[in-house]
């Protein structure tokens, strides 16, 4: 047992931290000029009544592109990608260090994050030479922004229920259907798409889908922003009406798309830096408790408040060390053990508890989203509302419990 970094890892961290220290100052200046948003997008003030103001969104985009270029020029975009595709070929440990340092400073990782984290790695593994040559450099440079079109109104947790069809017609597939929860869909240039290509009713469900790279600017693609609980729209509904996708843009084999989509979701799951973010939020919570007075005393002296915050801190650390056990297995090339699924369940629910308690601490002020009485300009209100999605996106907490019970603990599936 040893938590130390190797000399090479230590050198990587030092180099990264030096670079970040040098560039963070300008980043913060630009960030506040553009409206003071965090890594997740435009900021809280826009919550509520009206939809996000266009000016703010433009400012955010301009800022992200600037930061992306900075990262790209320094070689910090797609560090996990192999060198031959323009990445750094970073080791798992280096990726962890990178994610940790970025999370500690609450720095955004650039534009087209879905391209770097999902689409790119999937193309690297399953794409042909032409696909790799065309798409990968454009993903890295931030030229193309990617989104994901998997879920449908009738297929969320049960993804195999997808109904969107892709029918062969000459050199193309013609795609019809509706996708939903398309994160960043309104701004995306390309999508990774899962669609049905085998209509034989006797075919096993998991062998009926193909995986496509779809141009979001194609005729027949309409994205309608889906306004979410916070009042802003991070994702959209995507309508596909006779969209022609060239056969050359199918990824992997026909009817083999299900397995590729599962590997994409693996890339998603392995990208977790949530406990570091929580530890930093807990720091803000402590600070809030110290400056909030209740019954003539700072809330930080209230025993219930102290118990709750300490419990969050313990849970975040338990999540962190469960994560380090999972990381050790990964480093040793072993298949994921119970740690991975158990850790994500713990942290997703912890995130909600923290946000809920932050609201509780504010008493009647927790209702205010802007104005002179609003605490921290409505920041907590926005993150409280968006935290309700944590136990739904990337697999609901119920599905996670089923997976833990059936795959890790070996309990039987319920069958009729």
């Amino acid at each position: 047992m040893d938590f130390a970094l190797s000399p090479q890892e230590e050198a990587f961290r030092t180099e990264l931290c030096d670079w970040l220290d040098e560039n963070t100052k300008e980043l913060r200046q630009r960030q506040s000029r553009a409206g003071g948003f965090g890594p997740r997008g435009p900021s809280p003030q826009r919550l509520g009544g009206s939809s996000p103001q266009q000016g703010i969104l433009d400012g955010f985009r301009e800022f992200s592109s600037w930061w992306h270029k900075k990262l790209y020029d320094a070689g910090y975009v797609g560090i996990a990608w192999p060198k031959e595709y323009g990445g750094r070929g970073a080791t798992i440990m280096e990726q962890v260090i990178f994610n940790e340092e970025m999370a500690k400073r609450r720095l955004p990782t650039g534009v087209g994050g879905l391209g770097i984290g999902w689409a790119g790695p999937t193309i690297i593994v399953h794409g042909n030479d032409a696909q790799k040559k065309h798409f990968l450099p454009r993903i890295l440079s931030g030229e193309d922004v990617w989104c994901q079109a998997f879920s449908e109104p009738g297929a969320g947790s049960d993804l195999a229920g997808c109904q969107t069809k892709a029918v062969e017609d000459g050199d193309d597939y013609v795609v019809n259907g509706q996708k939903v929860w398309t994160t960043g869909g309104m701004d995306a240039d390309w999508a990774i798409l899962l669609a049905k290509t085998n209509f034989d009713p006797k075919a096993p469900k998991h062998r009926t889908f193909s995986y496509f790279l779809m141009d979001m600017h194609s005729p027949g693609v309409t994205v309608r922003p889906l306004r979410e609980i916070t009042g802003s729209a991070a994702f959209g509904e995507t309508f596909l009406d006779n969209v022609r996708v060239p056969k050359s843009l199918m990824l992997g084999n026909k009817d083999g798309g299900w397995y590729i989509s599962m590997s994409t979701l693996e890339f998603e799951r392995s990208n977790s830096t949530s406990t570091i973010q929580y530890l930093s939020t807990i720091g803000n919570l402590i600070e809030l408790a110290k400056r909030t007075r209740r019954n003539g005393h700072p809330l930080s002296e209230d025993p219930v408040t102290r118990q709750r915050i300490a419990q969050f801190y313990i849970e975040a650390n338990v999540g962190k060390y469960i994560g380090l056990r999972a990381l050790t297995r990964q480093l040793q090339g072993k298949t994921p053990g119970p740690e991975s699924s158990v850790g994500s369940l713990l942290t997703m629910e912890l995130g909600q508890r923290i946000e809920d308690f932050a609201m509780y601490m504010q008493g009647p002020y927790s209702q205010l989203i802007e104005g002179k009485y609003a605490i921290d300009n409505g920041m907590w209100q926005r993150s409280f509302l968006s935290s309700r999605g944590r136990t739904i996106m990337t697999g609901t907490s119920e599905i996670k419990r089923n997976v833990i019970a059936q795959r890790t603990l070996g309990l039987p599936r319920y069958t009729e």
């Binding site: 047992m1 938590f3 890892e9 419990q311 158990v342």
Partner: protein
Amino acid sequence: MNFELDEEQVMLKTSARDFLQQECPKKLVRAMMEDEKGYSPELWKKIADLGWLGLAFPEEYGGVGSSFLDLAVLLEECGRALLPGPFISTVVLAGRPIAACGDENQKQKFLPNIASGDMILTLAFIETSGGIEASDITVTATLSDDFFNVNGTKLFVPYAHIADYFLCVTRTKNSQDKEDGVTLLLVNAESPGIQIEPLKTMTGDKLYEVVFSNVTVPAKNVLGESDKGWPIMKRILAEGQVAESAWMTGGARWALETSIAYANMRIAFGRPIGSFQAIQHKLANVAVGVEGATAIMYYAAWAIMVNDPDVAMAASMAKSWCGETYKQATFDGIQIHGGIGYTWDHDMHLYLKRAKTSEVTFGDSDYHREMVARMLNI
């Protein structure tokens, strides 16, 4: 970066589990609940021969020279087997502090004898207040002519009836700062003026009231320095908290595995009850607790091994998390087993009772959350 047991630790774990399955069946655990001594001297001897008692003592004093982390691996298995007897009290609460802070004579006198199984020690710490702060220490020791005169009552002293020596936490000075003026004394159990009275416990663990009336203790029996015993006591507390956490982790995993096995086997409404989501989700929650307990407990044991500055924080986090996890695992274990889980014949209640005992030993979960809050400067 490697947060996994090494090969030798895995071997220690496996061999300990095999040994305890053979030598410490539930029949023995149940017999010891009723037994006056509360432990099996034959088994104690075997454990000594395996090197368990001196595992984390230096080799020059008859030990194996392994680390606290290795000891935690072993304690996890002892907790799983519900090993009855004075293992933690002798080794962790008395032997380890002597190894760390004792003088040469004390080390020579006690450590080889503990390691060989010939001497049993215990910690006389808690008093009627039930607390674990320096201000809770009121048993007095007054020095005159190279002898201390000890007076007062200690409670919840584990296995006092079989102990050869007590490591007694006394007050030797009344200062404003309660941490100043605490002295740890090694008191011969045969000394005149010591009276012990058994306390009847839920687990069948042997705990005692120990009354000291004008007990004479030579000044050379001070562990560490006079009046400056509290830092040693804090170290004992941290090691005790992590030892209990390891013990609890082992028990909680047993409760989880036993419940899974039952849920797979028990048929209701024509199918195994483990196929119902109500049961699956309960067990998934217990699994979060147990995996978390394993992770945070080993982190805390590692922190003790390397003397990390984060020791107190790690110990409090582990004790708090493991305490709640173990209790919940046995609550859910009984619930999943239904009627049979509620009976005396099923073993689950033995674990539930142990969980309640460990939960309150060296600070419960609320206490440790408050400690965490203080260390975070909230």
